[in-house]
Structures are given as C-alpha cells and as structure tokens.
Chain length 307, copies 2
C-alpha cells in the first residue's frame, strides 16, 4: 500500500570510536525510505535538499521505488548538515555542528499523487511542520506514525503535544518517554503518553531493544547482540522505516501484526549500525533479510507450554 515519508534528507559527518567520515548522506527520511523500500515499493518522499546533494543517492532512492515528486531541490542553497561524535559506549553523542541551511525555511508540499496515501511516516522534524503535512492530506491515512526527539520537548512542547494527539503511533526512546511523561517506569510512562492521543507507543531502547505498547498489551523486540555497533546513526529511523514498510506491505495494522513489524523494524536497524551512514541499507538481498530475521527468531523463541 502507498506510503508517504516526510523528514530530512541531508549530510552528516560522523565520528565513532571506530573511525570518522567526511560529509556522507544521512537524514531521517533517507534511512526511513531505504528501510521501508525492502518491504513495500509505492513510496513517496516529501523533503528538501540544496543543489549540493548527490544525484547518485537520489537515483538509488528512485531505483528502490521512492517517488521524488515531493522532494524540493533548492537552487543555490545547501543541504542540512549535522556533525557529531559518539562516545565510547555509542549511546551518547555530542553535536559538533548543525547547519540548518535549506531546512530553515522548509515548507513541505505534499504532491497531489501522495495526498491519499494509506500510510504516513512523519520522521523527526519541527512538530509544526509535521502538522502541516497532516493537514495537506485529502484523505485521513489508515495509519500515521510519528517520530520525534527530546529537542522538541525542550523548546516546543505545546506544538509537539498537538502533533502527538493527531497520530496513531509514536516512536521515541526511553529517556524521551520519561521526559514526555514525567514517569521513570516505562510502563507508567507509556500509559501517560497513550493518554495524549496515540493508540500505540513504541519505546526504543537502542542496544536493549524496543517495547510496543497499546492500552492493554505490551510486546518486546530485542536488539541483535552484535560484535560491533559501528555507527548508530540512523538506527531509529531505519527502525521506523522497517516498521511502517512492513505494515504497508501486509496492509494489517492490528497489534498482532505490529509485533511482527517491530521485529522486521529491528532487523533493518541491525543492518544500519554495521556500517557508516546508509551504506549497509543499500543493496540488501532478500536472503540477507531472511537470514537476519531468522537470527531474531533464534534469539528469542523458546518453547514453554503448560499441560
């Protein structure tokens, strides 16, 4: 089913304990689109770049079935740029540089062809801009999934809460869930966040996996224990892309199917962290993905039954 992805397409410069990169392609919507494209093909992208952005990467997106009609390319302007350095534990990072560039005046325009999609993925962005996208839909999508971050909780909480109230699924990490709810227990935090509007909350815990909550149920997807997490950038976005991509493929938004979806999502995140940037998400084969899913099955499936 059709999927609209909104978010940044950008440059990153990344330092990890294992090395550093020059400017490489990044941005939430880049990861989301690539990850989703392994599960579904009718994808529309709404974003903005400068004319410094490599056509090669855009060609890769097109090859993966991503329609770029909603991608604004601003002549004479530069793409969004973020530089960061990860600490040794890879769970914390310092921002070294942020250049908003084209993002400063980003006015998202959803093309006619994407205004009636069934699935809408709002990547992390200014909450008011996420709202602006929702308001352009001529038909309410079957499912709206929204990612966000602590930054907006610090500077735009009212706007953020309004956007949250308009979506079906919210994805945030554990510290963000605690900040948003004021509760330390993630179980309590989840119930408070669900009371803000979403029917489903996903709490991402990085190397510790992810929790899926609705009002009555909870499900847990582990992260794959890896020899090295090479670069965590984009893991959460790849997770979101895998999640909504799988739901769009299967056309089933039940909680049972969302359980499967966060396993498929975790598989995508596990690929992303194996190399710098989007590198590992390019050229995956069906066998690669099936093998990875099998690793998740082997990791947590056990056989206990009651007589």
């Amino acid at each position: 089913m059709s999927l609209l992805v909104v978010g940044t397409v950008a440059f990153d410069a990344i330092e990890t304990p294992f090395g550093k990169t020059d400017k490489i392609v990044g941005g939430a919507a880049s990861y989301i689109s690539l990850a989703a494209s392994y599960y579904t093909r009718d994808i529309h992208l709404v974003s903005v770049v400068g004319d410094d952005f490599p056509q090669d990467f855009l060609n890769i997106l097109t090859d993966q079935g991503v329609d770029l009609a909603g991608l604004q390319i601003k002549k004479g302007e530069k793409s969004f740029f973020w530089a960061g350095r990860y600490h040794n534990d890879l769970n914390t990072r310092d921002t070294l540089d942020t250049q908003l560039n084209v993002l400063e005046n980003f006015d998202p325009i959803v093309p006619e062809s994407a205004r009636e999609v069934d699935f809408l993925m709002l990547g992390n962005l200014v909450p008011a801009i996420q709202q602006k996208v929702i308001s352009q839909m001529t038909k309410r999508p079957k499912l709206i999934v929204m990612d966000t971050m602590n930054f907006w909780m610090d500077i735009a909480m009212d706007d953020l809460k309004k956007t949250i109230s308009m979506v079906d699924v919210l994805t945030i990490n554990d510290s963000e869930a605690r900040q948003l709810s004021g509760e330390y227990s993630l179980v309590k935090a989840a119930q408070k966040v669900l009371a803000m509007g979403p029917k489903v909350l996903i709490i991402k815990k990085g190397e510790h996996g992810a929790l899926l909550f609705n009002k009555d149920e909870v499900f847990f997807a582990p992260a794959l224990p890896l020899e090295e997490v090479f670069d965590p950038t984009g893991a959460g976005d790849s997770f979101a892309g895998g999640f909504i991509g799988y739901l769009a493929q299967t056309k089933d938004i039940s909680f049972e199917n969302m359980k499967r979806a966060i396993i498929y999502a975790s598989a995508m995140a596990s690929f992303t962290v194996e190399k710098f940037g989007t590198e590992r998400l390019i050229g995956l084969s069906q066998q690669n993905i099936d093998d990875r899913l099998q690793e998740f099955i082997d990791l947590v499936q056990f056989d206990i039954s009651f007589a």
Copy 2:
C-alpha cells in the same frame, strides 16, 4: 534432582525511592534457595548465620524442601549484615554499611548427604571459598553454576579466574562481563569469558533482560516491564535460583533447555523485585508462576515464518 546451594544467609537494610526497611532477611543463598524451591525440592544449603538469625525464616526454608544440615549456626555471633541505598534509577546503589560478622571466618562444610548432588549453585562469595566447596564434592556434579561480582575482580582476580575455570555456567552482569574481559561488546566479552573455562555464560542486564551464550549460540530473555521495580535486591540471586532449580527439575542441561531455564529464572527475578527482600518469594502459588510465565510468552513470542 538434588541441588546444593552455597552462599550467604544474612540481614539487609534497604532504602529505595519507595521506602526503607529495618533489618530484614537477605543473602544470596536465601534468594537462590527460595527461587529454586518452586521448581525442585531436593535442596541442600551450605551457609553460616549467627544465633541472631530468625528461626521463622529457617522454618520457611525447611517447608520449601531445603535441608539445613549444612547451615552452621554460630553461638554468640552475629549474622552477616549489609545496608544499602538505591538511587532513583534503581540500577545503582551505595553501600551504607557492611558487617561481615560470621562470614569473616566462614569455613563451608558440605554435609555427607550433599557431597554427591547433581547440581551445585555457588552464590556470590569469596572465590577461594567457592573452590573449597567444589573440592569437597566426592562426585563431580553434573552442572556447576557460579555467580560472582565485580568486588572479587578488584581484589582477588587470580582466585576468581581459577574458580571460573572449574565451573560450567557463570552468571555476571553486563558491567562485570566488560570488566572481566576488557571488551565493551558483550558478544566479544562473552567469547573471552567462555575461553576462561565455562561452557555457558549468562550476562544479566537487570531491567534489560539477560543473555545466554555458549561458543556458538546466543539467546535472550527479556525482563518483564513492571509498573514499579520496588526493590532490586536479590533479583540476580533469584534468577540464579530459578535457573538451576528448573534445570534440576527437568534433568536436562542442553542449551535448548537452558533457554527455557532463563525464562523460568526471569520469572523468579520479576517476583522478587515487586516487594522488599524475600517477601514476594514466599507463598507463591503454581498459578502465580504459570501466569507470570504466560506474561513472558506474551511479551516476546511472535509468529514469523518463511514460505
């Protein structure tokens, strides 16, 4: 099958964000024995207390099938006492007081009746004392499981490594695995620790669950997301008791059965943290345990298959 449990039986005074206790019963072997007793009954305890220790608690152990022939009760002496305060995240704690008392000259004596047990659980203790217990066994147990902690890595690493080389399964937490191996990646840490002798390593990650490794495989058991972790004291010991208790019950030490065992282990740990001390581990019904196991099944079981 018969199980020998060695470790402390003691007093704790605990402060958590939710309250504080006076002197209450604690000690690794108390938790291990209670947790194991829900899965198997032929349990022998080797430990030491002073004559200040409450007979009531010893009666509870006896009622649960624990043979106290190896429990030394030192006249005119006091039981081991530990006081600690947990921080708000419950993952870190400060020790406020430690009184070794009877533990200072503890010389474990395994009674005749327990020298040919099939399962031996060495709770956290001075590594040299753990060795002393192994050396008293007249028949090599089918399975020796050992728990330890960072304290011994700091002050008795050589002794510790020698004891580790004598056991089949080692249980430590994630920071201890990193300290013992010098590797940050838990996958790499596990392989280094397994090279020290044990066939199986369990890395406990508290609220983030537990990983089970052998040379070729890895399995993950989640922790149950709880509204409140009331008091984490004894969670790791209850886990160890549930693990070896289930193995003793099923008489099967295959990796497949150890997967089930760490789910049964996690169930015991999840009870322990719901109340102060050993309180929640007393008087559990089979229905309580089955319901809890079902929660673990619901938490992680998903249905993905390949055509």
